[in-house]
């Protein structure tokens, strides 16, 4: 049976049942959750064309009950929504959307609006593109992305929003590249509970070796001026196993802009030093000043590690030896790398949960296989928490209580296993996170504090 697709699709849809099974206790949300990616850009306001509950669901769960991050200037309860009703389902919602966009300009003070669609307009076939183009022609700063929940998750939604801004807001460009300016594509805002502090630390590291950074999302971004500056950058830095690669490739095609892909977010001195050297080499920076920066950072870092050594070497009551990580590939890989190479912990189970696109899975597997010269890890890709918990129960944690790096979903499991839990990913409903970071030199120290305070406070 042939299906006539209204729009081009990456793959043919066939009647065969797909392999995606049911998901108990979610670890990501749907594509329209990327409304918070738009809201993560200072003074950008998403406009949602969807049912009445969609916007509330996405932000309350991504931004509130996940580290209580707050929903940002234009995110959360600020977000306009058509709150599509029976009328929009039966008669179409294009007029309603037009009315909402018009009135949004009256009420809201935004530098850019990003229209995101939900299941309803994507199913009934509203021509959202034509509605938005009318406003674009009138000079209204507005773009749109199709993010119906059945089309993908908030990771792919994030790529769709990014692509929309690049394609619809950034014009053609033929200026002169600025050497030393880099666009950073890394963690998924809000989904990653610690994204703000982490982006701040990564930016700090890059600036320390003399680069200028378009961080693009979060409090350290200058907002849309950075986005307009994207084509001017010397290169794109994709700092994650796969998220951001599609954007970097788009920019390569569009602006002939090179990119550097580093799958491992650096945690701790070893990774951070390697990270700085790799970026410096790609950027063509002289080695000597970079080495000086590394020495300075390491002096501070190892001073604290020296103090920690007293505890780590002779704490009486035992510390965990084996660990599991349940989470998005970016943090999973970064944490596993740090815990194995710097602390000497033994990986018992690593489960990647964000449903990475199939084409990226082999390269993610390879990264884990090469975690250290003497340690290789075979990972699982699982999204259903029931199956995840089953796999954790069956893992070999040896004779000591395990330490699990996971989410709120693991609270009962860890009690049952008499282990320790560090909530490091969505959802982290029992963490309050402001600027805390777990990456770089400084984040690594916070991470050590968090891990061992948790373990020690359990002991009596």
């Amino acid at each position: 049976m042939a299906i006539l697709a209204l729009k081009s699709r990456p793959t043919e849809i066939t009647p065969d049942a797909d392999k995606s099974g049911p998901i108990e206790l979610v670890r990501y949300v749907c594509a329209i959750g990327a409304m918070q990616s738009a809201a993560a850009i200072p003074r950008v306001v998403p406009i949602t064309h969807c049912g009445p509950g969609c916007a509330d669901k996405q932000y309350m769960n991504l931004a509130f009950y996940n580290g209580f991050q707050g929903s940002g200037y234009g995110g959360g309860p600020v977000v306009p929504s058509t709150n599509a009703s029976q009328r929009e389902v039966i008669f179409g919602g294009a007029d309603r959307l037009r009315e909402l966009i018009e009135s949004s300009q009256t009420v809201l003070d935004a530098d850019l609006f990003v229209v995101l669609t939900g299941c309803i307009p994507d199913l009934v076939g509203d021509d959202v593109g034509s509605v938005v183009r009318d406003f674009q022609k009138k000079g209204v700063p507005i773009v749109y992305a199709e993010t119906g929940g059945f089309r993908g998750n908030n990771f792919t939604g994030h790529e769709a929003v990014t692509r929309a801004i690049i394609e619809q807001y950034l014009g053609p460009w033929d200026g002169v590249r600025e050497q030393g300016l880099v666009n950073l594509w890394s963690l998924l805002p809000y989904q990653n509970t610690f994204w703000r502090g982490d982006l701040e630390e990564i930016k700090r590291l890059l600036e320390s070796i003399g680069l200028k950074v378009n961080v693009l999302f979060g409090p350290d971004s200058a907002g849309l001026s950075e986005w307009r500056d994207i084509p001017r950058a010397q290169f794109n830095l994709v700092l994650s196993p796969w998220l951001g690669l599609a954007t970097a490739k788009l920019l390569e095609e569009r602006y002939d802009q090179p990119f550097l892909h580093l799958p491992v977010l650096p945690i701790g001195a070893r990774q951070s030093g390697e990270f700085l050297r790799q970026v410096a080499a790609f950027a063509g920076l002289p080695a000597e000043p970079v080495e000086q920066v590394i020495v300075r950072e390491e002096t501070r870092y190892y001073n604290y590690i020296d103090g920690f050594t007293d505890f780590y070497s002779e704490y009486w009551w035992g510390l965990p030896a084996r660990f599991a990580v349940i989470g998005d590939s970016a943090y999973n890989l970064a944490l596993t790398k740090f815990l194995v190479t710097q602390l000497g912990l033994i990986p018992a189970k690593q489960i990647v949960t964000e449903d990475p696109p199939v084409e990226h899975r082999d390269s993610i597997r390879e990264q884990f296989r090469a975690i250290d010269h003497d340690v290789s890890v075979e990972i699982d890709f699982i999204e259903d928490s029931y199956l995840i918990h089953d796999a954790i129960r069956k893992a070999d944690f040896g004779h000591k209580p395990p330490i699990i790096f996971g989410t709120t979903w693991e609270r009962d499991l860890v009690k049952e296993m008499k282990g320790s839990l560090i909530e490091v990913g969505f959802p982290a409903s029992y963490e309050v996170v402001l600027s805390r970071s777990y990456v770089g030199y400084r984040g690594a120290l916070s991470l050590l504090e968090r891990i061992y305070s948790t373990v020690v406070s359990h002991s009596a």
């Binding site: 108990e24 309860p77 059945f150």
Partner: protein, 503 residues
């Protein structure tokens, strides 16, 4: 009006009750326009209970019926909720897990994760249908958790593609011998989320409540509530009555035995109206028709009606007298500390009617309130439940009484009009704005906090604590920029856009 339990889909609030989500005026005017007193406003045509509603072009994200199904059917301890939807509807699992866990802890019940399974509908399913995935998910629910009931929450997507949820549910119910209950709660179908309460209660009434109870439990009272602390057990024990808490955190058996109880009460008629009325209509379990139990007059009348129905008048009078004597001196101490303060209530509809009364009891001025919808009548259609009328009659008018489905952009203008010292809220999204204006909020996560005689004392204490928070809010207020245009912030009429649309 008879509630129709024969069809699997609940009638929406707007169909049954004439519910509105946009209105602005005095409380007394709204009470007048509501069916309890008059019938219709005279300008909207012949259909009874029609109140003229304000509708504007600008709307911010609201809440949907499916979310209310999640927070009710999804919080039954030995059931599983299937969300037949793309993964995004499953986002709600996070909040309702957190609330459930904290609720269980507060009630002294074993803390556990919620049990929700998303069918994870994808693009292919939009074309070929998702019923196979639904069946897989229901089977997974049985194999994994051996539940005593399985609920299915539908979604906008499953509704539009027209999945035959009923047939799958029937087949698997027959196979497993355990109720499999479709709850039709597509977000687009009702303009107000409270229809989701009704959808859950409708499914429970149809497929869980024992149809022909063999026994009566004459001392058992169904208490329709959420996750609040257990204040009803000691209160009803004074009358020799036992509590059957429903729906949140109950078991399937607690739901099944509702038909055996003597009567049904609720902390909020917005939440309980459908279930309580249907229990009376179909099973003869009397619904207590009285004002809600807030403040002295409300609590007195509520207790007396409960006592009359259950034949415990003497015990009730004794309890009322003792509580008056105990609480009055405490309030006398509180009132001077609260004197001169102005409060603002922004909560669900009937709940707000109760809270305003409590504030006025303890001497706090209230000249504004925002309710998230308004039901011109409750399902009982009994004027003794006219909670808004009760408020106006006992405590006087409220000058700025607003109906709006939680629109933050209007909340700024509403607060400017009233300039309160603090706000009382229950739903998310409004307090953060108030905070940035220097106004602290009292979030009533525990919905029983202000209930009954002790509730007046509790709320007074909470206000005094919240006022100290002002230091934080006033500090932040100087440092934030709001996402609203100056021209809108200067607008004195929160409904200016709606009125312009009509004009």
């Amino acid at each position: 009006m008879t509630l129709n339990l024969k069809t699997s889909t609940v009638e929406t609030r707007e169909q049954r009750l004439g519910t509105i989500i946009g209105w602005d005026g005095t409380a007394s005017k709204l009470a007048d326009e509501s069916a309890f007193s008059r019938g219709d406003c005279g300008g909207c045509g012949s259909k009874a209970r029609r109140i003229c509603e304000l509708e504007g072009p600008f709307t911010q994200g609201s809440v949907c019926s499916e979310q209310m199904v999640e927070c009710q059917a999804g919080n039954i301890r030995d059931a599983v909720l299937i969300q037949h939807s793309p993964i995004g509807c499953g986002a709600g699992q996070v909040i309702y897990n957190s609330i459930y866990r904290n609720g269980l802890a507060m009630r002294g019940l074993p803390v556990q994760n919620i049990r929700f399974i998303s069918t994870n509908l994808r693009e292919r399913d939009m074309v070929y249908g998702g019923v196979d995935k639904l069946a897989v998910a229901i089977r997974a629910a049985f194999e994994r958790h051996q539940p005593n009931a399985v609920f299915i929450a539908t979604s906008c997507a499953s509704g539009i593609i027209g999945d035959d949820v009923e047939s799958v549910a029937r087949a698997l119910e027959a196979e497993f011998g355990v109720p499999v209950i479709p709850l039709h709660c597509e977000g687009f179908k009702s303009k107000h989320w409270s229809t989701g309460f009704d959808a859950t209660q409708h499914g429970i009434l149809r497929q869980i409540v024992r149809k022909n109870p063999e026994k009566r439990q004459d001392d058992l009272i169904n208490v329709i509530n959420l996750w609040g602390t257990d204040v009803f057990t000691p209160m009803l024990a004074e009358l020799g009555l036992r509590v059957n808490y429903v729906v949140d955190m109950s078991t399937v058996e607690q739901l099944a035995q509702m038909s055996e109880a003597r009567a049904t009460v609720s902390f909020c008629y917005t939440l309980g109206t459908y279930l309580a009325t249907a229990l009376e209509q179909d099973f003869g379990v009397e619904q207590i028709k009285a004002p809600q139990p807030y403040g002295f007059p409300g609590t007195d009348a509520w207790l007396r009606e409960l006592a009359r129905v259950t034949g415990r008048e003497a015990q009730a009078e004794n309890y009322i007298a003792r509580e008056h004597a105990r609480v009055k001196p405490l309030l006398d101490e509180l009132r001077p500390k609260l004197k001169g303060l102005k409060g603002y209530v922004a909560t669900g509809s009937a709940y707000s009617h109760g809270l305003i009364g409590v504030l006025r009891e303890i001497g706090v001025e209230v000249d504004g309130s925002l309710v998230f919808h308004h039901d011109p009548v409750y399902d009982s259609e009994d004027p003794r439940q006219d909670s808004l009328g009760h408020l106006v009659e006992n405590y006087g008018d409220v000058r700025h009484f607003t109906v709006g489905n939680r629109q933050q952009y209007q909340f700024y203008n509403l607060l400017q009009r009233v300039k309160p010292d603090f706000i009382i809220i229950r739903h998310n999204g409004l307090a953060p704005l108030a905070a940035r204006l220097g106004i602290p909020a009292i979030p009533l996560g525990d919905e029983h906090h202000a209930l009954g005689y002790q509730g007046m004392v509790n709320l007074g204490e909470s206000i005094l604590a919240a006022l100290q928070h002002r230091k934080f809010h006033q500090d932040i207020a100087r440092r934030v920029s709001l996402p609203y245009k100056q021209s809108w912030l200067a607008q004195t009429d929160p409904f200016a856009l709606s009125r312009a649309a009509v004009a």
